[in-house]
């Protein structure tokens, strides 16, 4: 029975890996025409204007990274804080409430986050800064809500596993819970924290709905976090309706290739970060 199960798992893993490889190959194949074009360098510029035959996508690459980076900073601060409170608190009620809240956040679809933000957060921020309704900051804040569960669950996992293994021992050595957390747990979970952050980055880079609905999608290169910008994912969604043979449509494949490559590189980095043996 175990043998059949493990063979079944192996087959499913091979099929999944094959499918991922196929996606990568197809995107690359569809891009390959662009690499032989003289106009390839026109894709690596900052101006997108179909009317003027300009197809630069670097603004959108920058848009993707800046929104994800800001979301990551906010998300990390909140995730780490929530997980620290869950670990350090003696109140089982607070622990229960926070854990369930994080789990519930993971189940909320991204479109609900975006839609709610449109009616609650956008009017709130426009009250303080009238020129920044749909902007980088709005999209980043809402995107951080999306990635908090991703990071929190990984952080909680490592904190709990270290706690299970070493907490009793440390308690017996009269080390307080706080000392155990700050001097042992954090020091020995840097690897897993980094993996959580990188995984959340891939999630943030790949999100379409929140960025499409909240970042404003302007074509100009942003000069502040209160400006509107467009990400690679929302650019794909917005120019999808162009004619199949047009350069604008072909740019979609380059956007997809850049996105896939960025995520691939991040996943490789996650895999390369090796776990350490625990020591005080």
């Amino acid at each position: 029975m175990n043998n059949i199960f493990s063979k079944g798992l192996l087959i499913i893993t091979l099929i999944s890996s094959f499918l991922v490889f196929c996606i990568f190959f197809i995107i690359f194949y569809l891009c390959i025409d662009l690499f032989s074009l003289d106009e390839l360098k026109s894709f690596f510029s900052f101006t997108w204007s179909v009317q003027d035959n300009k197809y630069g996508i670097l603004t959108f690459l920058f848009g993707s990274f800046i929104i994800s980076f800001l979301a990551l900073i906010l998300g990390f601060v909140f995730s780490f804080s929530i997980c620290s409170i869950i670990f350090l608190t003696n109140s089982s009620l607070i622990k229960f409430f926070l854990e369930k809240t994080v789990l519930m956040m993971a189940t909320i679809p991204t479109v609900i986050y975006a839609f709610s933000a449109l009616f609650i957060f956008v009017p709130f921020i426009s009250y303080f800064k009238p020129s920044s309704t749909l902007s980088i900051i709005v999209a980043s804040v809402v995107l951080s809500l999306l990635i908090i569960p991703t990071m929190s669950l990984i952080f909680l996992n490592i904190f709990n596993s270290l706690s299970k293994k070493y907490m009793k021992c440390c308690m017996n050595l009269s080390i307080s819970k706080e000392e155990f957390f700050f001097k042992f747990v954090i020091k020995n979970s840097i690897t897993q924290l980094s993996q959580g952050v990188l995984l959340a980055t891939t999630r943030a880079l790949g999100d379409t709905m929140i960025v499409l609905m909240l970042a404003g999608n302007a074509l100009a290169f942003p000069t502040s976090i209160f400006d509107s910008t467009r990400s690679l994912t929302s650019h794909i969604a917005l120019i999808f309706a162009n004619d199949f043979e047009s350069m604008a449509f072909k740019a979609i494949f380059l956007c997809a290739f850049l996105l896939l490559s960025s995520n691939f590189i991040l996943i490789l980095i996650i895999r390369k970060i090796k776990g350490k043996t625990y020591e005080v």
């Binding site: 449109l118 956008v122 426009s126 009238p130 020129s131 309704t133 302007a218 074509l219 917005l238 309706a241």
Partner: protein, 271 residues
């Protein structure tokens, strides 16, 4: 006597109830429609009437914009496309498109209802949308930045507005882009300093329509050509439409269909 009376009443009711929906008699199946977002509200009511009377018929409608609709119908992913512009000759040839116009729709400039402005000239519109005017104080209002909203490039609403109202003047690349008429309405209604464009059939009290050169964007002014920022609403099929699609087109162009179209602020036509 009672039976005769009942028969007479039933017959008279049937006669009185003879409706334009009878084109769907003996038809069944699925009809998939997608494309322009201006069409959605009025077509949804028509679809509800059809599906209520004929449960064997299923009609689905989706947005995405006129560009998406044209593309999908040309690839035969959907049966009918909604388009807010006449397809180009190239698009017609590529998709073997057949055009069926059923309404005329105006395109208006909208602002938040709290803004104290009622009219803009063509020159002011060109300057605002090109990014030359960036603050409401340049229009004689209080000091506040103008938050410009426009539609994506494949939108017929944007194309027609750019051609007819802006006279092909450029649109600033700092303008925020939204992907449907409904999204435009939401964005403008939530932003006190916003200015955008919308199909007149979709506009409601949550936004304020501006006059262009003193002309109010109304059905009467579109009909008498004094307000010329208007476009046809089309249904497109790739090749000859199926029986169900033909029935749907006929229904929208019928008297009942015209009443629904008028109800949503469009001008019904039948050609």
């Amino acid at each position: 006597m009672k039976k005769l009376l009942l028969t007479l009443i039933t017959l008279s009711l049937t006669f009185l109830n003879a409706s334009d929906l009878k084109v769907f008699e003996n038809l069944k199946g699925t009809l998939n429609i997608a494309g322009g977002t201006a069409h959605i509200k009025c077509e949804k009511e028509a679809i509800k009437n059809i599906m209520r009377k004929y449960p064997d018929i299923t009609i689905s409608i989706a947005g995405g914009g006129s560009g998406i609709g044209i593309k999908q119908v040309s690839s035969k992913i959907i049966d009918l496309a909604n388009s807010g512009r006449k397809p180009t000759q190239k698009e017609i040839e590529n998709g073997d498109l057949k055009l069926f116009r059923f309404a005329i729709d105006g395109i208006g400039v909208i602002v938040n209802p709290k803004l104290n402005i009622d009219s803009l000239t063509t020159k002011q519109l060109q300057d605002i949308f090109s990014g030359k005017i960036t603050n409401f104080k340049e229009l004689g209002l209080s000091n506040a930045p103008i938050n410009l909203y426009t539609r994506d490039e494949s939108s017929a609403t944007r194309k027609v507005f750019w051609k007819r109202a802006l006279k092909k003047s450029p649109i600033s690349n700092k303008a925020r882009v939204v992907s449907s008429n409904a999204a435009m309405k939401t964005a403008i209604s939530k932003d006190e300093n916003a200015i955008g464009i919308i199909s007149l059939g979709v506009a409601n009290d949550s936004v304020k329509l501006l006059n262009i050169n003193g002309v109010k964007p109304t059905v009467e002014n579109i009909n008498n050509d004094s307000y010329n920022v208007a476009r046809g609403l089309y249904l497109l099929s790739s090749g000859e439409p199926s029986k169900l699609a033909s029935a749907y087109i006929s229904y929208l162009r019928s008297n009942e269909g015209a009443k629904i179209v008028s109800k949503y602020g469009f001008i019904p036509i039948n050609e």
